[in-house]
């Protein structure tokens, strides 16, 4: 019996005097439910390992065999990121990637799409921050070789048609202008720009900005492709219904002759230092919420400092039950969700805390985020540390379901420099830093006096009591410099 219905029973019973024996509750048949069931014996999980081989020209290939369904995913990781953009040509790398599925020397874009479709295959190409990716989802068996032929053409002999280029460039410009109407995108771009500045490759969105993309010509794309898209920058990850011998034969025949080139990525410049917290406000007229990004530049994924920072960041904002979300969502009800943590970029990472909050609570929410940051600058308790480690380690296995998930997980680890054995090392990496190390990382990275805060929202908002809130004035009352962009 539930405690509430028991109370009701007692309340009813108290109306007239009854013998005590009748009031006493019967034994609760559900009392056993109060005990949380213990797990059965833990089944050890071993991270999937990819077998590795090289093609004739040295391209490394990682294969995770998955015979369950007749499907194969081939993900090509190209070490071609934003740092491949010539000066002033942000977006060139992404536009180059976008041009690859616009046809090959043998086929127009429409023919390529039709021929992929006839094999039951799908191809996606995109430019990411640190890498460019080409993914082929194909049927296994006899459908695979013709699909790989198409992938090979895409990689080795893109069409680069002038008309296609004009259209794809226009689509990119359209996307840039569409992004300006999306408050979360505006906030993310403004934040990234404020942290890195215009001269750093990470300071501009991957697709570039309006001026840089307008300046791009087909020759820029062709030149970038020619110098950067070579075998020396390629790594392949394959997951699916195929054996290593079959795969090696198929790939050697197609990509084994791809030549190596010279261009390769180097060190990225350091990010500018920040000495005081500043709040950057960008008005988004008519918005019913404000988007908040608070954070700073931090460490890259492969830095020895990353593991401690990651544990601290996950405890702060990576879980549903993290303080940040509990505060802004489950206590205040100001937001649908608030999250934070460290990015997994290759070279210079970012720490950020993010939330969309109802417009009249903008400044109080920024205040709460800074307060939570300050409160988090300490050693975690033993329970907190255990919870966070368990969360991180036990969430990992879920990444490896399906060919897309498996190939994507390995591709990310290769892309950000961790390498394909990242998952085998992961538990040790997470368990490595002790409470003192995690506390030291939190103290370093969560300093509320060195945060860059970006707010994108309306200048005025109606408050609970009908009184209009002036967002900028309210932000100023937090005691930090406020710049209106």
């Amino acid at each position: 019996m539930s405690s509430l219905s028991l109370l009701l029973l007692l309340a009813c019973a108290s109306k007239k005097p009854v013998p005590e024996a009748v009031v006493a509750p019967p034994p609760d048949p559900h009392a056993w439910r109060a005990t949380q069931p213990a797990p059965a014996a833990e089944e050890p999980w071993t991270a999937p390992q990819a077998s590795r081989f090289e093609l004739k020209n040295g391209i490394p290939v990682y294969l995770v065999e998955n015979p369950n369904l007749p499907l194969v995913t081939v993900q090509v990781v190209m070490a071609v990121g934003r740092d491949a953009n010539p000066k002033g040509k942000a977006g060139a790398q992404a536009l180059t990637a976008s041009m690859l599925d616009e046809g090959t020397r043998k086929r127009t874009g429409a023919q390529l799409a039709a021929d992929l479709g006839a094999q039951g295959a799908e191809l996606s190409v995109w430019g990411g921050g640190d890498n460019s990716m080409v993914v082929l989802d194909a049927l296994g068996g006899e459908a695979l070789p013709p699909a790989l032929d198409l992938l090979t053409e895409v990689l080795l002999s893109p069409r680069f048609d002038k008309g296609d280029f004009a259209r794809v460039k226009q689509q990119t410009l359209d996307q840039i202008s569409a992004n300006k109407a999306e408050p979360r995108d505006v906030a993310s771009r403004t934040f990234q720009g404020a942290l890195f500045g215009a001269d750093h490759p990470y300071g501009t969105a991957v697709i570039g900005d309006e001026a840089s993309v307008r300046s791009l010509a087909l020759s820029d794309v062709q030149a970038l492709y020619k110098s950067w898209w070579h075998a020396g920058n390629a790594t392949l990850v394959v997951s699916g219904a195929i054996t290593q011998d079959e795969l090696k034969t198929l790939l050697d025949a197609r990509l084994g002759g791809w030549a190596k080139g010279k261009a390769s990525r180097g060190e990225l410049p350091a990010a500018p230092a920040v000495s005081a917290t500043r709040i950057l406000f960008k008005e988004h007229p008519g918005a019913v919420q404000s988007v908040i990004y608070a954070g700073r530049t931090a460490v890259g994924r492969t830095s020895p400092e990353y593991p401690a920072a990651n544990v601290a960041g996950t405890l702060f904002g990576g879980m549903f039950g993290s303080r940040l979300n509990m505060n802004l969502r489950e206590e205040k009800g100001w937001s649908y969700g608030a999250f934070g943590g460290f990015s997994e970029d290759r070279a210079v990472g970012v720490f950020s805390a993010r939330a969309s909050v109802q417009a009249d609570k903008t400044a109080p929410a920024v205040g709460e985020i800074l307060k939570e940051l300050q409160d988090a600058r300490r050693e975690p308790t033993a329970d907190e540390l255990k919870l966070t480690r368990d969360y991180l380690i036990r969430s990992l296995p879920g990444s490896f379901e399906g060919n897309r998930g498996t190939a994507g997980a390995f591709a990310l680890a290769i892309a950000n420099g961790q390498g394909p054995d990242a998952f085998v090392r992961f538990a040790a990496e997470v368990n490595g830093p002790d409470a003192a190390a995690v506390g030291a990382a939190a103290t370093t990275w969560f300093d509320p006096a060195a945060m860059t805060v970006v707010v994108v929202g309306p200048a005025k908002a109606a408050g609970d009591d009908g009184v209009e809130v002036d967002t900028v004035e309210a932000l100023k009352s937090l005691g930090h410099a406020v710049e209106v962009l």
Binding site: E43, P70, L71, Q289, D390
Partner: protein
């Protein structure tokens, strides 16, 4: 498909086609078993809870997936958004776990969530196999003993959270309210799909504890739920656990979720044009027709049609609007399938210097061609292969399999409906797709929704 596309090209564009001598490997048939396998066993507890078990030992996890036969279609007047608000409350703790539902789950890395749509509400946890008892204990506790832990404070907090969800996902997102505008025009006011699942602010705000209690007692009974468990477990063990945790939850009065709605005979007898201005970057237009319900005759045919119209660069609308005329930035078509009625949608975004009325005219030209001659056999074969591959793709995770078993159970009463579902795609022909196009996408009987940026231009 190539041949039919050539007919659509102007003479000049032909010069841009690649050499026609290119070897064309034959279009592919799936070489492995024609029907993907999703074995299961099903039984019912005495209290009416349907249980579906499917073992898959390829991963050391188990998915617990619970569907309740209630969605926003079943809400009462003045309480739009309530089914979804209620779903949030299911994560606020129950009598024996009176804390955030995530508390015992995040430390084991579980994938946890719940979703609500027009037709149903689902809850799911993916946990390491040894935690199956924990997941069942949690789900059973909130199925049986949610109300004792519920407080006015929790309700008020989640009303705020849900209203902020609405702000974030609908109002503070370009085109975010289109689904709201579309449904209120496509379906009449008394139709269960007239208001989208997120509901209206004032109705969410009005929700009271009595509503929560009544809703729980009406809909959240074991005889209105199905539990699927997929992954690495022992069937005999799972049966014992399910009986232990769910067996003594009392059966409730049998609820009757809505399964039909009557449309007035003259509903959408003429084209209904709706014009909106909003904070959007580019003008966009939506065409929407009421179409056959999920799994009903014509539903699969309209899936084919959506491929033929807008899947890939060689699709008819993409070629006509984006590549050839260059009047649209993007175009897509889809059959949004639901239990009572579906909606077939075509949406297109204008290119600079053009207007949505031009897009509608160009779309209508393409539709007129399909209505006149139907799709080509080649188009249908490619789309069929795509749908067959999708069936395999949909079985790649135990989470997807668990949800699919419950979908089939909920819609057809048969968790093993997969083969029949696929058969619809194997059986479709150019003729049946042609017929469905003429029947369900006639001229006129549709909603045309134009959304243009504030301030006029475009």
């Amino acid at each position: 498909m190539i041949a039919s596309l050539l007919l659509l090209l102007s003479g000049l564009a032909l010069a841009d086609e690649g050499p026609r001598t290119l070897e064309q490997p034959p279009a592919r048939e799936l070489s492995r078993p024609e029907v993907p396998e999703l074995p299961f066993e099903r039984y019912q507890l005495d209290n009416g809870l349907t249980v579906i078990l499917s073992q898959d030992s390829s991963v050391p996890f188990v998915q617990v997936n619970l569907w309740y036969g209630v969605g926003s279609k079943d809400e009462v007047a003045g309480r739009t958004g309530f089914a979804h608000l209620f779903e949030h409350l299911m994560f606020q703790g129950s009598e024996n776990m009176n804390a955030d539902f995530f508390t015992p789950l995040q430390k084991i890395g579980a994938q946890v969530n719940g979703t609500t749509n027009f037709d149903r509400t689902n809850y799911f946890e993916g946990v390491p196999s040894e935690y199956l008892p924990l997941a069942l204990w949690l789900e059973a506790d909130r199925m049986g003993w949610l109300l004792p832990a519920l407080t006015q404070e929790k309700l008020d907090n989640q009303k705020d959270v849900v209203r902020n969800e609405r702000r974030q996902r609908y109002e503070n997102t370009p085109y975010g309210e289109v689904w709201v505008w579309m449904m209120e025009n496509v379906f009449p006011p008394d139709h269960p799909y007239h208001v989208p699942t997120i509901g209206r602010h004032e109705d969410i705000e009005a929700a009271a504890m009595e509503d929560v209690s009544a809703f729980f007692k009406t809909w959240y009974v074991p005889n209105n739920a199905s539990l699927s468990i997929v992954g690495d477990f022992e069937a005999s063990q799972a049966r014992l656990l399910v009986q232990r945790y769910f067996g003594d939850i009392p059966r409730g009065p049998q609820p009757s979720p809505r399964s039909s709605a009557t449309l007035p005979a003259d509903w959408l007898s003429a084209e209904k044009v709706v014009e909106k201005t909003d904070d959007v970057p580019h003008a966009r237009v939506w065409l929407a027709w009421i179409s056959p319900a999920s799994l009903q005759p014509g539903d699969a045919e309209l899936d084919f049609l959506s491929d033929i119209l807008s899947s890939g660069q060689d699709s008819r609308l993409y070629r006509a609007l984006v590549k050839d005329k260059q009047i649209a930035r993007s175009v897509s078509a889809y059959q949004a399938s639901f239990l009572i009625n579906s909606v077939f949608v075509i949406e297109a975004t204008v290119a600079d210097g053009h207007d949505t009325t031009e897009l509608v005219a160009a779309i209508d030209e393409v539709l007129a061609e399909v209505r006149a001659s139907g799709p080509t056999p080649e188009e249908v074969d490619v789309s069929r292969l795509n749908w067959k591959v999708n069936f395999y793709g949909g079985l790649q995770t135990i989470a997807a399999k668990a949800d699919l078993l419950n979908l089939y159970q909920n819609r057809t009463g048969d968790p093993g409906y997969l083969g029949k579902d696929l058969q619809r795609y194997l059986d479709a022909t150019p003729q049946s797709i042609h017929e469905a196009t003429k029947q369900w996408l006639p001229e006129g009987r549709r909603v045309v929704l134009h959304v243009r940026p504030e301030g006029g231009a475009q």
